[in-house]
């Protein structure tokens, strides 16, 4: 039974209280992340109401199959992390390490597909800021759509990148049996939020063609 990494700091009177504080701190951090993306969702709502046809046309330019593939990937990755926390909670650090490493690998796959999409856009003359040949004859609002698309999915991709780094570090620490259950819980909460944000980005940027 591996209990490595489970340390009680002096200012907590029990491990349970310490784990609760970690989770609460993480929830507050995640709430701030939700508000950060919330501003971008508000911009989407406002601009879509202003240019509904340009936004619908912009969504139609995106590859729904690739977007859906990425959705399935992130959900699967999130599932593996959840299973990892389950394994770690029961003392199986090495099994948890494999699951968390698998989740990180899927995160990399997500970024590969996202990069492929960006490159396809660039090849079609679609760049952030309304630059590129695509916008010479595009309807008004098209530049706004794609700028918002690059900003929002780019910010999300940065979060995925950070998540991959933290998941990889966690997998190494789990492998060495030096990561406490509550530490993995905090990492898992972050990764689930990255998944949850994409779950909303996906219909807005890949499905809402009408």
């Amino acid at each position: 039974m591996a209990s490595g990494g489970t340390r009680r700091e002096a200012h907590f009177d029990s491990l349970e209280r310490q784990a609760g504080a970690v989770r609460f701190g993480m929830w507050v951090f995640l709430a701030s992340e939700v508000l950060l993306f919330g501003a971008l969702f508000a911009l989407y709502a406002s601009y879509r109401a202003t240019w509904p046809y340009a936004f619908a046309a912009g969504v139609a330019e995106n590859d729904a199959v690739l977007g859906t593939t990425n959705t399935v990937l992130l959900i699967t990755s999130s599932f593996l992390v959840a299973l990892g926390t389950e394994r770690r909670a029961h003392g199986h650090s090495r099994a948890a390490a494999r699951l968390v490493a698998g989740a990180a690998a899927i995160g990399v796959l997500f970024l590969v597909i996202k990069s492929h999409e960006y490159l396809a856009h660039f090849a079609s003359g679609i760049f952030p800021g309304g630059r590129g040949a695509h916008f010479d004859h595009a309807p008004a609002g098209s530049a706004i759509f794609f700028t918002l698309y690059f900003a929002t999915t780019g910010l999300h991709a940065l979060h995925v990148t950070a998540g991959i780094v933290v998941l990889t570090f966690s997998a190494v620490q789990l492998r060495r049996e030096k990561l406490a259950p509550h530490a993995l819980d905090a990492v898992a909460l972050y990764w689930h939020l990255v998944d949850a944000i994409w779950i909303f980005l996906w219909p807005l940027y890949y499905l809402a063609r009408g």
Partner: protein, 104 residues
């Protein structure tokens, strides 16, 4: 100063988790909802397309939050942080859209 398994703490006990079954069922539901949303996006639902897609997304995020993130087992103080943020985002996004749509 930190302690490792001192007598005051006792041996670390397994953390309460929902169990593998809950995770598997949630994952299966998320995949089914994803497929449903993808299929419906080609069904020409017109003005209902966006609300339906967002409603399905909301259900999926609820599944992730409640079971993967274990919000269902969290104390009220933790739930308040998450729920407040989501409510503020809904308020911000909906009022932004309403502002544009009601301008003369």
């Amino acid at each position: 100063m930190a302690h490792e398994n001192d007598p005051h703490d006792g041996t670390p006990q397994p953390v309460a988790t929902p169990g593998t079954g809950v995770y598997v069922r949630s994952f299966a539901a998320l995949l089914v909802l994803t497929l449903t949303s993808f299929t419906l996006s080609y069904a020409h639902l017109g003005v209902f397309g966006m609300p339906v897609a967002l409603a399905i997304a909301a259900v999926k995020v609820a599944l992730v939050a409640l079971f993967f993130m274990r919000l269902v087992d969290e104390p009220a103080s933790h739930r308040v942080a998450g729920v407040t943020a989501v409510l503020f985002v809904i308020l911000l996004a909906s009022l932004s859209a309403v502002d544009v749509l009601t301008r003369l």
